[in-house]
Symmetry: C2
Subunit: 324 residues, 2 copies
């Protein structure tokens, strides 16, 4: 029995499951590819509502070039005007030192840095080599040190690259080690275009958890090929406890038009509720928020639960049944 | 460690996975709720194409009242005109003795009978009580005996009912025992409206497999709440080996408008291919067929893989990357 399957058996037979921590990323990873402009006030209202739904972590925006991602050009206003709830960490994505300076000035609690495991994807996404990204990370780490602001770094395309295909697991492990040696506390393994499978996830999570504590590791899955929640379970069973998810399943990848985006927060919380895995998140509040997304964005969203309702939301027996 | 998690550990640590058998149900469970009429010739062409893609079981149609399900009123013509491939079992759904007589006259290889675990759902779906359904099953069993035609019976709403909610597991086990005592070889546990969760699936599958061999049990999952493939993995890890799935994720439930239908065949086969679980199904052929569905049916379908492509279908690196 390998480590991953041992962890799985343990989780399945345990009388009580550990808490699963959901980091809500819709305000950043969800909105960044939306073609419709979402007003700053609507972004703030969404984040404020999410803050009351039980999340302890919300990726609330980014400090990237407004030319690169116009949908999130109001990062300062968002971070300065949202209500800060105690116990909630408000995370900002930053691509470089200038972004980090803006995020600190706007009182982000944590910075999320991103580099792809694949050179081709890092060049396409960040417009620089992996080596240049790591140099930029070093500048950010030195700038942030002593400020009390937390640091997390993401390994994008950790489970596969749409340009290069398979990613060597040793390369991912090497990047995780580099991040940690640089003094970055948190690490996210991201399946940026939904190429991961549960067997691969169990194996890689088990290897990474030999290097850092479970609460320092986040898994970021996309549902591009329908495997997002299966991958969450495999990672959880292998010992992972922190997961990104987006309200409504927002987000996506420009290389898979029409395909699903991030795993859907309310679908994930429903899975946890049904299985008895605690999340402390109020599913009813999430459903209200998710059902407001089509009006906000002008299109249907991929999440299933908002359409189907929870198991407990029973239907009335049809009239004709009463006569049988 | 309970039986279900023991089976799971065994499957995850085994060097080679057992074959997973996919029964394609799009021609029956997929098409039955389509509002657009699909010509008999198109149904036959679809089934003939599926027969060459590696399936060993295809639910090809039903022999129900044409008033109840007009979309499948051409069951006789379909069964009489499809090409019969050796090694492929062509299954017909039948609701009563009259349907069984029609199916036998049309040379169906196997009959699938359906009763819900929930009284309210059986009355809504079959317009009779569970007791009346079992009497009808007895008539069918006696009629079919000695003909060489196989029998399978489905427990619908085995994991939850949209009217009654939770279903007592002992009731499901009791129905399985009744089916077997009646001389029905195959049993399907159906999550008719997508209410199952992986923990529940592992537990119920383990109990049922104490009663019948793995190859007599089929799991039928819907993706209504996004958990279909996670449930497949839980069932497979608990020892189940046969699964229903529908090309494109066709099908659905009138009580969850807009929600997904059956688990999607090509998404399931992709999961198996990526994990190393053999299916003997040609995924490339499936993708061609799935991508033809929107033109045939006049609407988009829920399957993800047909939109995203396989992992191996790499994308060209954008032009600007070459200058970095």
């Amino acid at each position: 029995m390998n480590d991953a399957s041992h962890a799985m058996s343990h989780a399945m037979s345990a009388p009580h499951f550990d808490k699963l921590i959901v980091q809500e990323v819709a305000p950043r990873d969800g909105l960044q590819i939306e073609p419709t402009w979402v007003d700053t006030a609507d972004k703030i209202a969404l984040i404020n509502a999410l803050s009351t739904a039980g999340f302890t972590r919300i990726e609330a925006g980014s400090f990237v070039s407004p030319k690169a991602i116009p949908a999130l050009r109001d990062g300062e206003a968002v971070f300065q005007q949202i209500e800060r709830h105690s116990g909630v960490i408000y995370v900002a994505l930053v691509p470089n030192l200038k972004g980090a300076e803006r995020a600190l000035a706007s009182r982000a609690d944590e910075l999320n840095l991103v580099m792809s495991a694949s050179q081709a994807h890092n060049r396409a996404n960040m417009r620089m080599s992996c080596e240049s990204s790591l140099i930029a990370f070093g500048d950010i780490v030195r700038h942030v040190r002593g400020s009390g602001v937390l640091l997390n770094a993401t390994v994008a395309t950790a489970f596969g690259c749409p340009f290069e295909g398979r990613i060597d697991e040793d390369r991912v492990i090497g990047i995780v080690d580099t991040y940690r040696e640089m003094g970055i506390e948190g690490v996210t393994l991201a399946d940026t275009t939904g190429m991961a499978n549960p067997r691969q996830v169990a194996r890689l999570v088990a290897r990474v958890l030999e290097r850092l504590p479970a609460l320092a590791l986040t898994l970021h899955f996309h549902n591009t090929r329908g495997l997002g929640l299966a991958n969450v379970l495999a990672a959880y069973e292998a010992g992972a406890r922190r997961f990104d998810a987006a309200l409504g399943g927002l987000g996506g990848c420009p290389f898979a038009p029409g395909a699903s985006g991030n795993i859907c927060t309310e679908d994930l919380v429903n899975l946890c509720d049904e299985m008895g895995i605690p999340t402390a998140i109020d599913l009813e509040k999430l459903l209200v928020l998710s059902r407001g997304l089509p009006a906000l964005l002008g299109h249907d969203v991929p999440g299933q639960l908002a359409k189907a309702g929870r198991n407990r939301d029973l239907h009335a027996v049809p009239e004709y049944v009463l006569q049988i």
